[in-house]
């Protein structure tokens, strides 16, 4: 084989083009932001977090585009165990060079990760964990609580129930950090409006049969049964409440936390008429529809709920802040990165314009939805009609009431 000039030129060009690929990360090693999506990939909260959250984070990275630094996304399964979750978080932060941890459903795991991230001065963008303690006594300069929280659910769904005449409550509560926080916040609301809590029962996470609890709730003669649980637990409770004729006897079921994926699992026949609160719904406006159309092909049939939208929106805002302050500095200090995020107004397709408060609470409107009847629904995932919008300033707990040490100082 003879080497003529042309082969040599094309060969060199090809080598340069190919060589460019492995070279780029090497050159940009100092300027790679690594995002770890830590959530439930295999259990009860998989559909409201899981692979869909990872896809939404990747969408945020793609939409952010290239601004002189690389972004890498990794994912981990905490199996709803706080020890597993904090171990993954430690390994990511200490060994694998992860800068930001995103999502983390299950309040028990979230509280553990919150501490780990703060110790190492990295960033924690919480979307799916609900406990309002993350912006209350447990608030951290390294954490932003993005999508929703127990206080906001209590105000929106709980408040609407009390207003409609439901002044005596009985709680069916998941027996861990999240359930306790949701029950506490809702009970405070009920009492503040001269309502009464007549009883509560606490069930283990991933319980299957709720008939016993429902019959106890019914015997209490409360007008409203508040469900302070989530995911499959909520689906099972609602299904069995209908079976035991609770709603037919005039008792109201307050599903304090329900995602659109839960409605899908229940089916409209069983879920119709329930009210729930989310801060994002795919069919809310043109921007939410645009986001959904963009991300939907990567979701394997799932639909983004507010938790997934929160992952997208939080990561997008973090990347904007990092670009604004310089990647090196954003990587060096999680506190400064979060401070920069708080200083910048937020804006994205999922939540529109918003802001982040000093205690780490992201502020945006919340929406009270009613689940449509099968006749009202025009197609797949057409599940909600909007009952009421709570403006951003009123949707979340007032800054002064949370007891966050960052605010006092």
């Amino acid at each position: 084989m003879t080497l003529d000039r042309r082969t040599l030129i094309t060969g060199t060009a090809a080598t340069a083009a190919l060589g460019g690929l492995p070279l780029r990360p090497a050159r940009a090693q100092a300027a790679t932001i690594k995002i770890g999506v830590l959530n439930d990939q295999s259990g009860v909260y998989r559909d409201i977090s899981g692979p869909t959250s990872v896809a939404c984070v990747r969408q945020a990275v793609q939409d952010f585009g290239s601004r002189g630094f690389n972004v890498e996304v990794v994912a981990g399964d905490h199996q709803n165990k706080p020890d597993v979750g904090s171990n993954i978080a430690r390994q990511w932060l200490d060994r694998d060079g992860v800068d930001v941890i995103v999502d983390v459903p299950n309040s028990a795991v979230a509280l553990a990760v919150n501490g780990v991230v703060r110790e190492r001065n990295k960033v924690y963008l919480n979307s799916t964990a609900a406990t309002a303690d993350l912006t209350g006594p447990q608030c951290s300069p390294n954490t932003v609580h993005w999508t929703y929280d127990t206080w906001m659910l209590a105000r929106s769904t709980g408040g609407a129930m009390v207003k409609a005449g439901g002044d005596t409550w009985y709680f069916i509560t998941a027996d861990y950090a999240f359930g306790h926080a949701l029950e506490r916040d809702t009970a405070n609301f009920v009492r503040a409006q001269n309502g009464r809590v007549v009883g509560a029962v606490r069930h283990p996470l991933s319980n299957t049969d709720y008939s016993s609890f429902l019959v106890q709730a019914q015997a209490s003669r409360a007008k409203v049964i508040g469900l302070a649980n989530a995911g499959a637990d909520t689906i099972n409770t609602v299904k069995q409440a209908a079976e035991f004729g609770l709603t037919r006897r005039g008792t109201k079921i307050a599903v304090l936390l329900m995602f659109i994926n839960d409605v899908h699992g229940l089916g409209l026949q069983a879920a119709q008429g329930l009210v729930c609160t989310e801060t994002f719904y795919w069919d809310l406006n043109d921007r939410t529809r645009a986001f959904t159309n963009k991300v939907r092909p990567h979701l394997a049939g799932n639909m983004p709920a507010m938790s997934h939208a929160g992952c997208y929106s939080a990561v997008l805002h973090y990347l904007k802040a990092a670009a604004d302050m310089g990647v090196a500095q954003a990587k060096a200090s999680g506190t400064e990165a979060v401070a920069r995020m708080k200083a910048m107004p937020t804006d994205d397709d999922c939540f529109g314009a918003g802001s982040i408060r000093a205690d780490g609470r992201k502020i945006h409107p919340s929406y009270l939805f009613e689940v449509k009847s099968p006749a009202e629904s025009k197609g797949a995932w057409d599940y909600y009609k909007l009952l009421q919008t709570t403006p951003a300033e009123e949707a979340f707990r007032p800054l002064a009431e949370g007891g966050c040490p960052l605010v006092r100082s």
Partner: protein, 294 residues
């Protein structure tokens, strides 16, 4: 109103009834496990996954084929049982000569794979399945509402348990099965095809789990982890009843359902652990279980 331990008596009876219904599920599932362990010496950790497959088969028949509940009650166990037969032929039959532990690990692995595949395909929030029209509605007892469907579950479970017990303890086929457990070579020498009988027994045990799944579909969330939530409790039931004892697992299933039901009234937080506390006590006092023969 009469009260027992500070709980109104009618409410307590209501709870006993509910406990009995849950016990029906425990009994049905532990029965299948007991049949498989008693006759095949395999600790079938895939039983929960097979229960789940039964429920999913019912959903698929309805959603994809328009086939309703009653046919599902017949077809779903056949389909899932056939899958069980294939699994037995391909994998489990290779392990009969080895220690129990190998069978346990193999079926546990199979369960993880099956659940993973379903989770990938259908997600974790579950699928809707309605109570059949004939069984919807409820009886109003005054002190509580008793859904017709729950009554049906208890009746179906009792019939199923009794039939299985009679089949194994009182018929010629059952006698062959029991004999094959004692001495397979001798039974084979009499011209009975023991390997085929064993395969079919496994299929039948799996079919029992699938029927449980179909019965559970209208009242529990049909999701990939529905079996794994239940199976650990069911294993405890089998251990308490005595590994492999058919009657033991039936009686223990119903009894523990009631015990759990009462715990839900007096100390709900402990309702997930009470069965394991009982298991520990039984193992200390009677290591072979309440109805164990050894």
């Amino acid at each position: 109103m009469d009260e027992i331990f500070g709980i109104p008596a009618p409410l307590l009876f209501g709870q006993l009834l509910l406990g009995l219904i849950n016990g029906a599920f425990y009994a049905m599932l532990s029965l299948g496990l007991a049949v498989i362990f008693g006759l095949l010496n395999i600790v079938n950790m895939a039983h929960g996954a097979q229960f789940m497959m039964g429920a999913f088969a019912a959903w698929m028949l309805l959603a994809w084929g328009g086939i309703g509940y009653w046919w599902a009650l017949l077809l779903s166990p056949l389909i899932v049982g056939t899958i069980g037969v294939i699994l037995e032929k391909l994998f489990i039959s290779k392990l009969y000569k080895l220690d129990h532990l190998y069978g346990l690990l193999l079926t546990f692995g199979l369960a993880l794979i099956i659940e993973g595949v379903f989770r990938n395909e259908f997600g974790s929030s579950g699928l809707p399945y309605r109570i059949p029209a004939e069984l919807s509605g409820a009886w109003d007892f005054g002190f509580m509402f008793m859904p017709v469907y729950r009554g049906w579950v208890v009746v179906a479970a009792l019939v199923l348990c009794l039939t299985t017990w009679l089949l194994i303890e009182k018929t010629r086929l059952g006698a062959y099965l029991r004999a094959a457990t004692e001495n397979a070579a001798l039974v084979q020498a009499f011209g009975v095809n023991v390997p085929r009988m064993v395969t079919l027994t496994y299929g039948a045990g799996v079919a029992l789990a699938a029927i449980g799944g179909v019965l559970a579909a209208p009242i529990y969330s049909v999701n990939p982890q529905m079996g794994s939530n239940l199976i650990i409790v069911v294993f405890a039931v089998v251990v308490i009843g005595g590994m492999g004892s058919i009657l033991g697992s039936i009686l223990t299933g119903f009894t523990l359902g009631i015990v759990e039901g009462l715990t839900k009234v007096f100390w709900p937080e402990a309702s997930a652990t009470v069965i394991f506390v009982i298991m520990a006590i039984v193992l200390l006092a009677r290591p072979a279980g309440l109805f164990g023969r050894k």
